[in-house]
């Protein structure tokens, strides 16, 4: 007798359903961002970049975008500038309290963002300072530093000490050794760390909601605000841009890490 539905095909259709459930909303957002009508419904009646155009003429969204870009870039640069010497110290040198310090720098990964958000805000209150861009920047550095640290440290462990020792023995000073050997070998991880850091900063809502002011909004916080009024199709376009950025940047970072792992 022929079985109508085998167990295997059940699993397959179940898997398919899970995927649809996960990705359908995202696909819908992307598709609807190209829908010319105000109230989107399927099937779409045409294809246009209308909402992308509107975005370009919405100064508050452009402002948020600019904020996000500046904030993300500065976060990436500063977090990496802290992470590189720290990783160097943690991997190459022995000192007291090393494990404790290392744990401390990685800890924000494990602390709920809400707690981080509130904590930093309370700290600011205690200092009697108003919310500002500096607060956002500081907060985002704290948020992203652990990830950059992990990436850079992992790479640093992989760079054999002998490379540096060889350079020193050949007459390069410690600084010249760092510049001509350690840094180039570390640079893919530095680059990857910056991309991760930028992406996390660019994408963060929870903690940023606590820190942002009316004039210092980031794109996700802006979207969150827009949703409270109405669901404008502009949000779909904005969302699509966010998706592209937050997927492509970590992929690029991953590519560099892998490429480097192969080379050495």
């Amino acid at each position: 007798m022929k079985k109508l539905i085998s167990g295997w095909s059940l699993i397959k259709s179940y898997t398919l359903l899970v995927y649809i459930w996960m990705f359908a909303p995202i696909v819908a957002v992307v598709l609807l961002s190209f829908n010319p009508q105000q109230f989107g419904s399927f099937p779409m009646k045409g294809f246009s970049f209308r909402w992308y155009g509107e975005l370009l003429h919405n100064p508050s969204i452009l402002g948020a975008f600019k904020n996000s870009l500046i904030l993300g870039s500065l976060t990436a640069i500063l977090a990496t500038s802290i992470a590189v010497p720290a990783a160097l110290a943690f991997v190459r040198y022995e000192f007291r309290g090393k494990d404790f310090l290392n744990t401390l720098l990685i800890a924000p990964i494990m602390i709920p963002e809400v707690v981080l958000g509130v904590a930093l805000l309370l700290f600011l209150r205690w200092l009697q300072q108003p919310k500002s861009f500096m607060l956002l920047l500081l907060g985002h550095i704290v948020l992203t530093l652990p990830y950059v640290m992990l990436v850079v440290q992992a790479r640093m462990v992989g760079i054999k000490k002998e490379y540096e020792e060889a350079a020193l023995s050949l007459g390069a000073s410690p600084f010249q050794t760092f510049r001509s050997v350690t840094f180039p070998l570390l640079s893919p991880a530095i680059f990857a760390g910056m991309l991760f850091s930028f992406t996390i900063s660019f994408d963060d809502v929870t903690a940023t909601l606590f820190w942002a002011t009316a004039s210092q909004q980031t794109v996700p916080v802006k979207i969150f605000g827009m949703l409270r009024n109405s669901i404008s199709p502009e949000i779909n376009a904005l969302g699509t841009i966010m998706i592209i950025l937050t997927i492509s940047l970590p992929l690029t970072a991953g590519y560099f890490i892998r490429k480097f792992a192969r080379e050495s």
Binding site: Y163, E165, L168, S169, L170, G171, A172, V181, L185
Partner: protein, 365 residues
Amino acid sequence: MTKEKDPAFVKYRRIVKRFGNVIAVDDVDIDIPEGSLVSLLGPSGCGKTTLLRMLAGLETPTEGDIFINGKRINDVPIHKRNLGMIFQNYALFPHKTIFDNVAFGLKYRGVSKEEMQERVYKALELVRLPGVENRKPSQLSGGQQQRIALARAIVIEPDVLLMDEPLSALDENLREAMRRELNNLQQEIGVTTIFVTHDQREALSMSDKVIVLKDGIKQQEGTPAEVYNHSANHFVADFLGHPNFLPVIVGEEQDDHMVVQLENGKTFLATPSTQFKRGEKAEIVVRAQKLKMAPRAEFHEDEGMNYLFGKVKDRSYMGGEVSYYVELEDMSTLHIISFVRRIPLERNDEVFIKLNPADCRLIKV
């Protein structure tokens, strides 16, 4: 007035190195004449690498002084020491071309571009690898990388060349060829060289002088023949390969020999030594290659020779030679290495073993 030239170009004086509670090097003196190749030989963990790294400036001695060419260098930072270091895993810079790798040290020596090129190409020729300058290290084989590491170290004309087990990462047949090449090159350019190894064959075949170490303590130093034929103690004799030890009680000197008594009461003749008193416990050390063995049926006694009797327990071919383990009458075992006989000895064959007293050296226990 001309100053007397110190024969030791590199000198370690009373060097101690501690890592926490571990004593890696314990009160070691070493003299290395200019232009010679000196091996530091010993088992893993005996402090060879640490001694080398202290000369390189990668570790600081806990106590003692190091001199190069009469100048104390303890406080000279590594990049000002002008030494060529070769690492076990070559440590070629993976992101730089072969040219840039070899030229690396010249960049910090104010060498003009033309001279740099000339010297790099000359060094590549010296290690017999011309034409690879545009490749990356990963595009070379292990043996080739080793040569580039060598070129990178000698192109700066270092005062001393330091090599830490440079051949151990190569496979067996390549190692032998590379060993000869290293040896020839060192002779050719005449650079003072320290060679770290745990392989006694490497040390014996390459060195002007061998320094045997154990647990951070210098056991013996001397020419390869000296340390091999006149090992200072049980450890050195054992480490340099295939010894047999026979515990004895020292008797007295007779003619050209020292009369000693084996544990089974038998009398033996050994090479004379002034270092032993009558009645003292000692050991005879005799190399496996020095023992002569034949079937018991062919036994005949020559004047002034030592004899032992036993039964072949085990044998294994090693190409042109055979390695035998013979169980003696007192159940102890002797190791004998001999050329392949016309009629090979089999397991359980009764044999006699002849020992020339000249090959039976006494050492302290």
